[in-house]
Amino acid sequence: MQLTLWTYEGPPHVGAMRIATSMQGVHYVLHAPQGDTYADLLFTMIERRDRRPPVTYTTFQARDLGGDTANLVISAVREAYERFKPQALLVGESCTAELIQDQPGGLAAGMGLPVPVVPLELPAYSKKENWGASETFYYLVRTLLKDLEPPERVPGSRPRANLLGPSAMGFRVRDNIEEVRRLLDRVGIDVNVVAPEGASPADLLRIPEADFNICLYPEVAQTTCAWLERTFKQPFTRTVPIGVNATCEFLAEIGALSGIQVSSSLSAEDQSRLPWYSRSVDSNYLTGKRVFIFADATHALAAARMASEELGFEVVGLGTYSREFARQVRQAASDLGLEALITDDYLEVEARITEAEPELVLGTQMERHIAKRLGLPCAVISAPFHVQDVPARYSPQMGFEGANVLFDTWVHPLMMGLEEHLLGMFRDDFEFHDGAAPSHLGGGPEANAAARDGNGVKTMADGGAGPAWDHEAERELRKIPFFVRGKARRNTERFACDAGLETITLETLYDAKAHFGR
């Protein structure tokens, strides 16, 4: 058993729902008890989808157990087929149904329906949502395409690529598809099929007609892309175009895959404002800002690279809940001199953020909560997300426009450079004081004052073991702006400890400042 307060991912059948909900002409019959229909609201409320997910739940009850739950599956499959006439049917079970072992996929496959039936076996007690989405997409594609012959390419036409992986409840899917389409169009590549989002089973049958695949969301599409590479000799991209540098690399990669010369046609400086914004003097104050990153693997990796290379931040924590991609995240962390945090334990993430004392948190919906408690600025960069992370405006994360969006999104929660200086100099202005939020954000007064002034952070003094602060030093500490106060407190205590001091005086405080000065 695992004690869990909040969970980053749902169960694997929710991953299967994401694939079904993304697509047209697919229906999913889910053997599940009452209550599992809650998952519908993820799509209809958080993403504001205007259609119910195409899912039929068998809704078995306690009184059905030991009786005829299998028949319930058969009648639900029949009714769903009659009513919705899908081109393909997914059949699976949720956690409870897995325990009663009715094998709904097998039952449905034996019903002789005139459409492909894809039985899904997604172990609910060992696997999670993204894995479930990936497996479902893979099984669906494999079932539909396995007997197809690789088609002949017509010479002379523009190269064609599939965009694979965008799905319901994926991060900024709608706008990323659009942005990547524009990018491909400008270099002269046609989009053949986008899947699963918006695709029908008939569309999936056209996947082999492309020259290569773009693996846009590896958590969902990597397994499928690897199978297509083996089966249809379609190579696929390894770079996810998030950030200016990654986008340039992505363009080089698709250039190599399609034989198109892209380097001369697009230069990063012309395409994105980020490089200039980041170099402009105003951004000096961003230098070395401590940032903690926790997200799905793709977004964590991309954010770490962007933060360090393109914004000049210092990454002080990097982690993911995507165990399937732990190796890559460990490598990226180690390149930054960090140890990666690979966990799905919200409490552990909270502890590590508290410990790292970042000035900005880039994370999921969960990290927004942690950051709010700690009084830290935060931007959501990855699923899981909430309704406010599905904006009405065009706001991709991918491509050059995506880089612009990310620059704004990450910088916006921070105190502006000049404001930071003024606060450092004049701390006692009654309107413009220490505990106030960045002035462009409004926000409640003193909402998180305790957390902000570093008192929320456990210090050695709390434990009673470390050196004590004398009155004068404590008062001086309060004059340090809140966003660095926690760090100053910690550094001073560490310094005093190392020096074997029992009391921290004004002198100790400034000695420590000189010692650690960044």
Binding site: Q2, L3, Q34, T44, T56, C95, T96, L99, Y125
Partner: protein, 434 residues
């Protein structure tokens, strides 16, 4: 609506709905399971913690149903069963003990821990009653540990609260033989509870206790002198357990709207031999104020047709309120299950022509909805936006269990919840660009 306040329990509608034919259906249900009740119960019982013993689905359900997650560390969690628990590689009981010890060490202020059963824990027959006893002993009575089921195979949505409160009934201290008291059962917003305390006090009814109490350490007493007044219609099992401990159930409509609140208070007043004059003196002013506040909303709601999909189990009392006090016409009133004993007064007030349905076959019910196209549909969150996209105005039913809607002062707020989607549609205007 300027007529003088009636002081007696309202007259039943001609025939009422007690003998009506009910459409019973079986099929896909679009209803939460009983675990959802934790979302409001953990806010009410401030020193209690709810530990669901279940799957990742259970954890995901509670955090999704809450709509927004609560910013502080919540007073609920899930002990997620994993493969090794099911494969017998780990002893589930030992694992549960470990998790509970971990939890109690982290939250020493917890006085009561609920072990909440789920679909998977029930299917594998994990004995949580036994576990609760064992754990209570091992913690030397420092923490009260009780169990109940919120599983979807046993409970729908608000039944979780029924099971939770029922689990507390054996824990309640006895009310001494010679004493009388009023016990109000069902989670009420604190502000509403305080309003009712003042009204009972002015009526001369007391002592008044509430279940659930605000602190789990302050459980109300129960005994033969207990008069039981239900604040929610979905608490049948709890009521029957309290009756078994000697309490007398007061038959009353539920305190929604002016009429319901009057009838509800009247049932208590009669039982405590409070005279009509006293009742009138205490209730006339708040009832008149509530009617005034309601009048404005009635103008918007009157004549509009409304359908309820089965969800919170509040459907029948709310249909009664909207029909009788707001002039709406219920088209179909769906309820997950019908507990007649708990709804006698309500059914007798509801117009006999009202179509009631019990259980659900979602697709057929949506077919009816689409052909009848009511002005407003009360439904769960999963259905609301798709129905709006089909041009049907909706009201989320979960708001009705999260919002203070009981009593005189909230009667207009309750009506306003139904007005808002209609008013919004009136306000929004978009031009076609051409």
């Amino acid at each position: 609506m300027n007529s003088p306040a009636p002081t007696s329990i309202p007259k039943p509608a001609a025939g009422g709905c007690n003998d009506s034919v009910i459409v019973r259906e079986r099929g896909q249900r679009e209803v939460f399971c009983g675990l959802t009740g934790i979302v409001w119960l953990h806010r009410k019982l401030q020193d209690a913690f709810f530990l669901v013993v279940g799957s990742r689905t259970c954890a995901h359900l509670i955090q999704s149903a809450a709509g927004v997650m609560i910013f502080a560390e919540p007073r609920f969690a899930t002990a997620i069963l994993q493969e090794r628990d099911l494969a017998g590689m780990a002893d589930c009981n030992e694992e549960l003990d470990r998790v509970v010890n971990e939890l109690l060490a982290r939250r020493p202020e917890i006085s009561t821990l609920f072990l909440v059963g789920s679909c998977p824990s029930e299917v594998i027959k994990l004995d949580l009653a036994n576990a609760a006893q064992r754990l209570t002993l091992s913690h030397n009575g420092r923490v009260r540990i009780v169990n109940y089921s919120g599983s979807g195979i046993e409970t729908t949505f608000t039944q979780g609260e029924d099971n939770c409160l029922k689990a507390l009934v054996p824990e309640l201290p006895g009310l001494p033989e010679s004493q009388q008291s009023l016990l109000v059962v069902g989670t009420l917003a604190d502000v509403v509870e305080d309003q009712f305390v003042r009204l009972f006090d002015e009526l001369g009814i007391g002592p008044v206790h509430f279940l659930p109490p605000r602190r789990a350490t302050e459980l109300p007493p129960v005994g033969p002198g207990t008069r039981l007044l239900l604040a929610q219609p979905f608490l049948g099992e709890t009521a029957r357990a309290l009756i078994a401990r000697g309490a007398t159930l007061l038959e009353a409509p539920y305190p929604f709207g002016v009429e319901g609140t009057l009838g509800w208070l009247q049932a208590a007043a009669r039982s405590f031999d409070i005279g009509n004059e006293q009742f009138e003196a205490v209730t006339a002013i708040p009832a008149a104020r509530a009617r005034r506040a309601l009048a404005h909303h009635r103008d918007i709601l009157a004549g509009k047709r409304i359908s309820f999909l089965p969800d919170s189990q509040l459907e029948i009392p709310l249909a009664r309120f909207l029909q009788r006090e707001c002039g709406m016409q219920p088209v179909e009133v769906g309820t997950p299950y019908l507990d007649r004993q708990m709804l006698t007064s309500e059914l007798s007030l509801l117009d006999s022509g009202t179509r009631l349905s019990e259980g659900q076959h979602l697709e057929r019910q949506l077919d009816r909805l689409r052909s009848e196209r009511p002005d407003l549909t009360v439904c769960g969150l999963g259905l609301a936006n798709p129905l709006e996209a089909e041009g049907l105005a909706t009201k989320w039913s979960i708001e009705l269990v999260f919002t203070p809607i009981h009593g005189f002062e909230q009667a207009a707020d309750l009506a306003e919840l139904f007005c808002r989607p209609l008013v919004r549609r009136e306000r929004l205007r978009f031009q076609t660009c051409s």
